[in-house]
Amino acid sequence: MTMSDDTRLAMQGTIEALTSGDGSEPVVVNLGPQHPSTHGVFRLKVTLDGEIVQDAEMRIGYLHRSMEKLAEERTYTQNIPFTDRIDYLAAMSNNLAYCLAAEELLGVEVPPRANAIRVMFAELQRVASHAMANGTFINDCGAWHTPLFHMFRDRERVLDMFEMTCGARLTTNYMRIGGVAFDLPDELLPTLEQFLADMPENIANYEALLLENEILHARARGVGVISPEMAINSSLSGPVLRATGVPWDLRKANPYCGYESYEFDVPVGEQGDCFDRFLVRMAEVKESLRILRQVVDTLPDGPYLADLPLHARPEPGESYARVESPRGELGFYLVSDGGPAPYRFHCRPPSLINLSALKEMSIGGTLADAIVTLGSIDIVVGEIDR
């Protein structure tokens, strides 16, 4: 009398389940690489006991384009378009961070108008990126795309302004070493004025729809909680860190591009849960609009690009420049050997490093909580994989 292989395997599985503890088999579910709420080709392998997450392991690399290697073959200026594609939802911030690092290496003085324009576009980018982040976050909480589409409307207007200025909407390639590629077009400032005039009402609408929504509270409060100590130890940055109450913002701590001359505040949360991250982003959009208002009012005249040879060769050395991108601390570490191309080009990707604590945040919650947590961290897979 012999059993079939299937029966034997099934019996072995039963024995394993019975001896493993509570008599139930955990289920491994792959969220991604193709999944509606992983925001790209990101794969989260969760081990579930019923609906409770026992283990969460991320598998990445589906979008790896080896940018750090490619950048070693191209000149400093040629590398700027790469940075667009690192974080394609905040291309301006990435341009800026890379240009700052290259300028530090080359010792370039950036004209004041260029700095103001840089701040303007970095903050516009933050508005656009946070609109996307908050919209998709609410979607991950299960809303039927309504807040997302409303926020996309704002993002569209920002992208229109990008297109107006540099011809591209997503991969802008606008910043240059020593300034920006083009001066502002005539129609930009009126458009921006209109945008600044409309935004407070839009934000008030979103707040009326979302802030007191009991279901959203139930879904996001107390979910994905991380303590400030753990957040710092895990190198988290950006809204994820600030939601825990740590007031760390590089625009204040290490001002670049003249951020010290603008008046703005750093919103911080209290409990470090998903809802606080959402609130911090909402508040940051308001602060960005404050900065934009001041930039428009005090926009200096003058050159928009420093006088610099196209293919400048820096002295051998290294530089590490960081900006506060919408996702957190975005750094570029460049090493020069005196050649026309960087000897080493490294990006400190906030999306990747903010995922350091994803496992700790998700374990013990439900599958739905893990999705909400992932959405609240606001990852961009292009930046994770580079």
């Binding site: 609410i138 809303a143 039927w144 802030l211 139930a218 750093v266 911080v268």
Partner: protein, 434 residues
Amino acid sequence: MTDLAGIGSVLGAWYDFRDLNNLQRLITEWIADWGPDWLASIITGVLGALGILGVIGPTLLILIWVERKVIARFQQRYGPNRVGPKGLLQPVADAVKLILKEQLAPRAADKLIFFLPPVLVFIPGILIWGVLPFGPRMSVADLNVGVLFLLAVSGTAVLVLFMAGWASNNKYALFGAMRAVAMSISYEVPMVLALLTLVVFSGTMSINGIVQWQQQEDVIFILLFPLSAIAFFFAASAELNRTPADISEAESEIVAGYHTEYSGMRFGLFYAVELGNTLVVSAFIATFFLGGWWLWGLDQWVPSWVILLAKTGAVYFLLIWTRGTLPRLRVDQLMGFCWKALVPATLLFVVVAFVERTLLISEGWDTTVALPIMAVFNIALSLGAVMLFARVARPAPLRRPARIRMAGSDIGGLNAAREVAARREEPQLQVGGD
């Protein structure tokens, strides 16, 4: 019964559109003159079924368009506007696309059980229509256990969903199926209890009887039992897998739930049935709680089925509205809401209905005086129950408000964080909390 004395001359004629049943009745009588009984009943049944199917099919296509347009307006979009005038033919184009698409089945799927559900799911979806009264005599089968029939038939749908999820051999599908089963079983309880309130109070299990009771007493049930109506509405939207209770096909979690593996027209059938169920549930909510085909005498002048459709449309719009606005609840929260909130609330009103029914029947209270008093009392009781629940059953994390403070000049790490948190001044933003 409606008193149609004024226009009695057309009552029962084939051209009296107020009661489409006339046509069928005339045909039946004509067959009965020369044919056997069984032929008459078979032809009657077929005619009724064809009538319903003929209405449902086109209605579904229009509903898809309506739902997409309305949702699009919520989202500041245009919605479908390319195919046909105002995009009206978009659902037709979608259907053609779905029919032409390849029908894939996972290799490891349980073939028979995988193929059956898209067909089977139609059976309860269509059967339910049979007991819906479109007018005083306009329903395919006016069962005297109509309410039970409704519950029984809608309960079988869950089996089909389970078959679909299990046979797909896909973890998302299985999760969706298990969630659908668990949710359906749970939400059937408040649904039954909410209907039991009506059955107890009106003393009939016939659906048409419940409408006629409302007509007779000149009152709609939502005024008498508002909390039961709300509970029924929420339970129904949960059974329909619509946001905020669409956990069994939660897109952001388990992709599409039990129909993840269905492609082409198989998916289309699930989708159509879901919409059809939404419509029929709206119609039943309108029937049970809003008076159905009756509207304070207007049903004498306007065809009763038009009144019912108008009320159905209003409820349907409410369903679209909640779907377009609200995020989704988590599985445990949804279950908790059912067992901790809906079941006690509906149970309370079953008891209230018992007491009030006894007062009306045994004590012989005058309905014209007693019903308004009961309505006011019940509304107050409902409000009290909701307030009590909001106070008592709030989960712990929600009891504290979420606060956003401005760091000001304190920039740094843990020390700065402590300083910001210790500030006395009001936080810049404070939401939620008790």
